[in-house]
Chain length 94, copies 2
């Protein structure tokens, strides 16, 4: 997976807003898009990046693709930050 991809994904405001929407409930690509003033193609691009970063996953249903937050990857990022801080509640490599 890699933190490079994950932090990169988190670095864009549109993508952070998308994650914020998905905090409450899963949403279809179209529902997500309706919150932004950009084309569906652009939203699809952002969803692809979030998906590659592991921050969301999709489930297909009828004609729709629903996206939902993957909290476990959010947790991994928090762990990285926690280790950076020196919060040594977890293993510290070498």
């Amino acid at each position: 997976m890699g933190f490079a991809e994950t932090f990169k994904a988190l670095s864009d405001p549109v993508r952070r807003d998308i994650l914020g929407l998905l905090k409450k409930e899963r949403l279809s690509a179209g529902e997500i898009g309706s919150h932004f003033d950009m084309t569906g193609a652009t939203i699809s691009y952002h969803l692809g990046i979030l998906k590659k970063a592991g921050l969301v996953f999709e489930s297909r249903e009828k004609n729709f693709i629903y996206y939902q937050l993957n909290t476990s990857v959010v947790e991994e990022v928090m762990l990285w930050l926690s280790e950076l801080k020196g919060d040594d509640s977890d293993a510290e490599k070498e």
Copy 2:
């Protein structure tokens, strides 16, 4: 400050590596640079971005500028992620 700047700063591998170096001790710009295969000017550029994001601060001493990790901003980022996850240990806006 803004999460945009902070996540953007965290999104680059060189900058994450710099933060990793600063985890143990404060280092001068030159000492930081010696760990990378890039010019001092480029390192300075990255340090500027980390500084603007609030992730590091500097202290000038003699001829040197020392950089150190600002753990409080790391904590703010963790809080943002924690709220995204729904970890409601802290206030939830509206």
